[in-house]
């Protein structure tokens, strides 16, 4: 058999999902299905103020009007989701929030350990503050005190609703309106938790802020909501990473992330997404329908998205930048790996509104097995965006001949002084490359990992150091077949 054919076979034959285990913490479940009562239940569980409940109900009622308007334009195929066949609230049983890690359920901590994120060690060793989300309720928030001293607010969004209602009311849904799309309306009605970050004027946040998401309750949809505000002249780097346990049912994950950068502020948002992708026959796996958008509201502000997408059965995700402020900058760096029967339709939108705004898109898609990998991106330059510039580069790498890679760029330029550039390449890992590497003693998996990491280097380099190392390993593991 030819070396490439073997690679296809080995990568198809992915080892049992490394993080496939379930901890059995009793859950506080809302009844199955979605109704106005459930929305009220969630709001009551969260002790929310009336304005928040009203806001949710409005979103819910709007969602009802969208009943048959799930987006269908993406190159994705999946059975129709029955939204009444899912639980919308599950929380680990805990009456009072823990004051420190010592108060956290040891079983939870054990779960994190299996995932390779020992909170205690992270606190001590890496100085990373972690807002750990277990199912829908945050169980531990670390480094809060130190961040507090700096004036940084980093807390579960439910806490922000209670303690910082003025910020939440001002900014929530200011970037992604409730009616933006089907999943946003759904998320707005039923989101249970997520992170809230506020960086005060002029502060360069000295720590990377990080959240680990994890789905643990059967049939629980995850509707995370994240809101990050960087006030004038501030800087923050935020990390998001996910793993999920193995199970057969498809799980819906519809998060909404909003970023706001005011004058001269900079937000760097990095994601490593490794949700359960389903088995090698395409059974199970997470449906990841995410809306992420950042507004460069102030002049010379900057938002940079970096994503490494290796998991999920289906990925539908377009982290975008609205470049409102003059001189603002949006960047999008993406690695999307699909294997077996995974489907990804991912990319970005760069909307140039302000003068001299700049955007850069670097997308690397790697497809193996029978997967389908689509880059879909929009660059829109509005009439008043004098001197706007965009550079887009989309590279696809194929492993074997049973997968697909697609690039769908949309460019709309209404400014005569703007410049856009688009480059795209498609290549295949060659047998001669694999043989060459193997002649130097590397196993086939090592060779694939080396070549693919080389292919994605430009993107992985933009990740914060520790995350980059983790991501490099993940890139290898995602394409690895049974070989340890």
């Amino acid at each position: 058999m030819a070396a490439t054919a073997k690679t296809v076979e080995t990568v198809r034959d992915v080892e049992a999902y490394k993080y496939g285990f379930v901890t059995d913490i009793e859950s506080d479940l809302a009844p199955k299905g979605l109704s106005e009562e459930i929305v009220r239940f969630i709001s009551a569980k969260k002790n929310e103020p009336k304005w928040m409940l009203e806001w949710r109900l409005k979103a819910y009622r709007y969602w009802l009007t969208l009943a048959d308007e799930e987006p269908t334009w993406a190159k994705l195929h999946f059975p129709k989701i029955d939204y009444q066949d899912s639980y919308y609230y599950a929380a680990p049983k805990q009456k009072v929030g823990p004051k420190s890690l010592d108060e956290v359920d040891p079983q939870l901590l054990e779960t994190y350990k299996k995932l390779g994120i020992p909170l205690l060690e992270q606190q001590i060793l890496s100085g990373v503050a972690v807002d750990a989300v277990f199912d829908s309720v945050s169980v531990a928030t670390t480094y809060k005190k130190k961040l507090n001293e700096l004036g940084v607010i980093f807390c579960p969004i439910s806490e922000a609703v209670q303690k910082h209602p003025e910020l939440v009311q001002k900014y929530l849904c200011s970037v992604v309106p409730v009616g933006d799309n089907f999943y946003v309306a759904l998320n707005s009605a039923v989101f249970t938790d997520g992170s809230f970050v506020y960086i005060p004027k002029g502060l360069r946040c000295p720590m990377e802020l990080s959240t680990y998401f994890r789905i643990n309750e059967k049939n629980t949809g995850q509707f995370e909501r994240t809101l990050i505000i960087a006030d004038e002249g501030s800087y923050v780097s935020y990390l998001e990473g996910c793993t999920a346990p193995q199970r057969d049912e498809n799980q819906l994950h519809a998060a909404v992330v909003e970023l706001i950068a005011l004058d001269n502020a900079e937000i760097k948002y990095s994601t490593v997404q490794n949700w359960y992708p389903g088995d090698k026959d395409g059974k199970g796996g997470i449906y990841n329908f995410v809306t992420k958008r950042g507004a460069c509201r102030g002049k010379n502000s900057k938002i940079m998205w970096t994503q490494v997408e290796t998991g999920s059965a289906i990925t539908w995700k377009y982290p975008s930048c609205i470049l409102q402020g003059d001189g603002s900058v949006g960047e999008f760096y993406s690695v999307a790996i699909t294997n077996n029967h995974q489907q990804a339709d991912t990319g970005t939108k760069m909307i140039h509104i302000g003068k001299n705004t700049r955007s850069k898109i670097i997308s690397k898609g790697i497809s193996a097995g029978k997967s389908s990998n689509t880059y879909r991106g929009l660059v829109r330059i509005q009439g008043k965006a004098d001197g706007a510039r965009n550079y887009t580069k989309c590279d696809s790498l194929l492993i074997g001949s049973t997968c697909g890679a697609h690039t769908v760029p949309y460019i709309e330029n209404r400014s005569p002084t703007a410049q856009t550039e688009h480059e795209a390449t498609t290549s295949k890992i060659g047998e001669d490359q694999l043989f060459y590497c193997m002649q130097r003693g590397m196993t086939q998996e090592e060779a694939v990992s080396l070549i693919v990491n080389g292919f994605c280097k430009e993107v992985l380099q933009t990740l914060p150091m520790e995350f980059a190392v983790e991501a490099q390993k993940l890139v290898g593991v995602s394409l690895e077949g049974g070989v340890g």
Binding site: M438, T443, E446, N453, G454
Partner: protein, 250 residues
């Protein structure tokens, strides 16, 4: 002691017989040269030794240090100490030469039960070898073989060989595309590795290379067979008389 033993090796490619009964024994410490005109199966022999796909061994055997080499996958052969300096080194975009070298070195160290090489040690090692081979240090920052000149590619091959310290190295037309200065540098690199525990098989079209890498034995290959073997003086004879008479014999 026989390091590599090729017995009555018959190989076909897509149904066409290319090697028609090659037998060759190379002992540790020896340098053998195979010369011959184009299209006689010299590169087929090197590819079969390294384990490339697409070659069907229809008869015969190859043993390396007593092991059945043909039963081993290419990476296991490499880790056991078989090295092929490619006639046409492959370009690997995006992968820096240094990352490639490090991965290869660590694959070998893993086999030997040693820990991964640390970054400082690696740099020190590569810099020392670079100096000997006249390779500028910034070359290892470039993607492997991408945009390398013919001479740079061959030097990079010898650099890899020097770092991996194989027990048996096959040099497949390493002299092609080299000017006289590069030829000398590359040859010096090979000669520096010569020793009692290591063997070389030098495949070349021209006698020129053998002025620099002086072989212990020279074999003439024609029509998929070794048609004549002798000492280093055989190379001079070939240079003077050409391959015509062997082609007729084959």
């Amino acid at each position: 002691m026989a390091l590599i033993e090729i017995k009555n090796l018959h190989v076909s490619v897509q149904g066409k017989d290319i090697l028609k009964g090659i037998s060759l024994t190379i002992n540790a410490g020896e340098v053998h040269a195979i010369m011959g005109p184009n299209g006689t199966g010299k590169s087929t022999l090197s590819n079969v030794i390294a384990g490339r796909e697409g070659y069907e061994v229809t008869q015969g055997s190859v043993s390396f240090d007593g092991q059945d080499l043909l039963a081993m996958p290419p990476d296991a052969r490499a880790r056991a100490g078989v090295f092929l300096a490619f006639q046409y080194p492959v370009e690997i975009p995006g992968v820096s030469t240094s990352a490639f070298l490090k991965t290869a070195i660590n694959a070998k160290r893993r086999t030997e039960g040693k820990p991964e090489i640390d970054a400082m040690e690696f740099l020190k090692l590569v810099k020392a070898k670079n100096k000997a081979l006249g390779i500028p240090d910034d070359m290892i920052k470039r993607p492997l073989n991408v945009g390398f000149s013919g001479g740079e590619k061959k030097r990079a091959e010898v650099l890899q060989m020097t770092l991996l310290e194989p027990r048996f190295a096959v040099l497949d037309e390493t002299d092609s595309g080299l000017d006289i200065d590069a030829l000398k540098i590359v040859s010096d690199g090979v000669n520096a590795l010569r020793g009692p525990t290591r063997a070389f098989l030098v495949i070349t079209h021209y006698q020129r290379l053998l002025n620099y890498i002086v072989p212990d034995y020279v074999h003439v290959m024609a029509g998929g067979r070794i048609v004549k073997s002798g000492g280093k003086e055989l190379a001079y004879e070939l240079e003077a008389e050409g391959y015509t008479k062997y082609l007729a014999a084959a």
